[in-house]
Amino acid sequence: MSADEQLTLGGVVEPRTSLANETGSWRSQRPVFDAETCIGCGLCERFCPDGVAQEVEGGAYDVDLTYCKGCGICAGQCPVDAIEMVPEVK
């Protein structure tokens, strides 16, 4: 359920895929990609456990923050240190 959704009797919802499971609010840190440094190797995409690191325009990579949980695995795998984990301040 998205955060603004009204409660229903017994929490019944319509059928959904995991696309409805937006986990972006879980993060304590987020990856920031430097498109200049990025060499487009795609390791971040391969290792992202949520499949949200994706190729963007110009052959560089970035994440979909709607689903990114901020685990930092992409930053750990990047061979050229193009990904910096930045604390989320709420």
Binding site: M1, G10, G11, V13, E14, P15
Partner: protein, 405 residues
């Protein structure tokens, strides 16, 4: 309405068939077994035409009626003791999913040590499950509570547990008015579920709730339960209109006996109230002004009704057929929390008695009333907390050294 001499389990079975549930799931456990056996007999004789499911465990007996209830069926199952423990996990789910199944529990102590006899440790441990809990004093009330349970469950969309004391009520024959199908239909209209699992309108029940929703999702059934007293009172009043039997002088939630001029009160659940009433009659012959208070419901806890009926007494003795190890008796804990903020509150003492079927005589209860009468002059503020709880039936002589006094 036919009046017959009938065993508690058979009487409840007939009441269930009178309510005509679409699905009954059955898994045997003493002392409940007679209920589902009775329904099986009635089905074999052509009196019950719903689905009778023979299940392989209590977990699945509960799960199957949860599934059936989600599909829009009126459902019933029954259990006891450790069987209720195995049902516990799905029962929490049933309450959260707002599924109005009815569960009869033949109250029995929980292992270990193994015992088949009656107390309330099994259902007290389910007090946080979100089920409404009704307790019956005699077989007639167990029958009537079964019908009231279906009515309340379907109105509030919450599961209801209808309790009858194991052996004391389940295996005892009493003269009972067993409802005929006609008046049951008058009291219990056909079940019309608000939402059901339906392939033509797919939906998800029991889905995940994130922290943004869970607090509210839990608040809703809590609030519905807090207000459930009204629905139980209405159902009890309408039951009286149809069947002519009434329960509870505090609107169906609490029964009292000779309380009007009482200085002290004995408070208990279920069949023990019968013994307590006899004890009150006897104690009053000795000039002890004592009465009985019997909550018919434990969830929702009838705090307001209890504050009202206990307004005039100096001391309350809770006859406690359960123990929460390391704390005390659950019933007295609940009562104390309801009374705590009152400026002028009675002393509450906790008498742990009748665990696992230890016989409770009228003399036992007269002795408790006597002790309480002496305490009634002591202010609750002056009473030593470690003396509040007593075990009048404890056999000190067989205790191991570890806990001997």
């Amino acid at each position: 309405m036919t009046r017959e001499i009938i065993k508690g389990t058979d009487a409840v079975a007939k009441a269930v068939v009178g309510a005509d549930p679409d699905v009954v799931s059955a898994y045997p456990i003493t002392p409940q077994t007679g209920i589902v056996e009775g329904i099986a007999d009635l089905a074999a004789d052509g009196h019950y035409n719903g689905e009778f499911l023979r299940i392989d465990s209590e977990f699945n007996a509960a799960s199957s009626v949860i599934g059936a209830s989600a599909a829009g069926a009126r459902t019933f199952t029954a259990t006891s003791s450790n069987g209720l423990k195995l049902m516990s996990e799905p029962l929490f789910t049933a309450a959260g999913m707002r599924l109005p199944l009815v569960l009869a529990v033949a109250n029995r102590s929980i292992s270990a040590p193994l015992s088949i006899w009656n107390d309330h440790t099994d259902t007290m441990a389910e007090r946080d499950s979100g089920l409404i809990q009704l307790y019956a004093e005699d077989v007639q009330e167990a029958v009537d509570n079964t019908l009231i349970a279906f009515r309340v469950a379907e109105e509030l969309k919450l599961p209801v547990m209808s309790n009858l004391d194991g052996f004391v009520l389940t295996h005892v024959q009493e003269p009972v008015d067993v409802p005929e199908p006609e008046p049951v239909e008058e009291f219990l209209p056909p079940y019309e579920p608000e939402q059901t699992l339906d392939p033509s309108e797919p939906k998800t029940m029991g889905a995940y709730a994130r922290p943004e929703h869970w607090t509210e999702a839990k608040y809703v059934p809590h609030e519905v339960l807090l207000r459930a007293g009204d629905a139980i009172e209405r159902a009890t009043a309408e039951f009286e209109e149809v069947f002519g039997r009434s329960y509870g002088d505090a609107g169906g939630l609490v029964d009292t006996y000779r309380l009007d001029d009482a200085d002290v009160a004995l408070l208990t659940l279920g069949s023990l109230a019968g013994t307590a009433k006899d004890a009150v009659d006897r104690a009053r012959e000795d000039g002890i002004r004592v009465g009985v208070v019997r909550p018919r419901v434990f969830r929702p806890f009838p705090g307001e009704a209890l504050r009202e009926v206990l307004g005039g007494v100096e001391a309350v003795g809770v006859l406690e057929k359960a123990i929460s190890p390391g704390s005390g008796g659950p019933l007295s804990m609940e009562l104390k929390s309801e009374l705590y903020n009152l400026p002028d509150r009675p002393l509450v003492r906790d008498f742990v008695i009748g665990l696992a079927g230890r016989d409770i005589t009228v003399e036992d209860v007269v002795g408790i009333a006597d002790e309480l009468y002496v305490d009634a002059d002591v202010s609750p503020h002056e009473f030593a907390p470690d003396e509040e709880e007593v075990w009048p039936q404890l056999r000190e002589e067989i205790l191991p050294e570890e806990v001997s006094h």
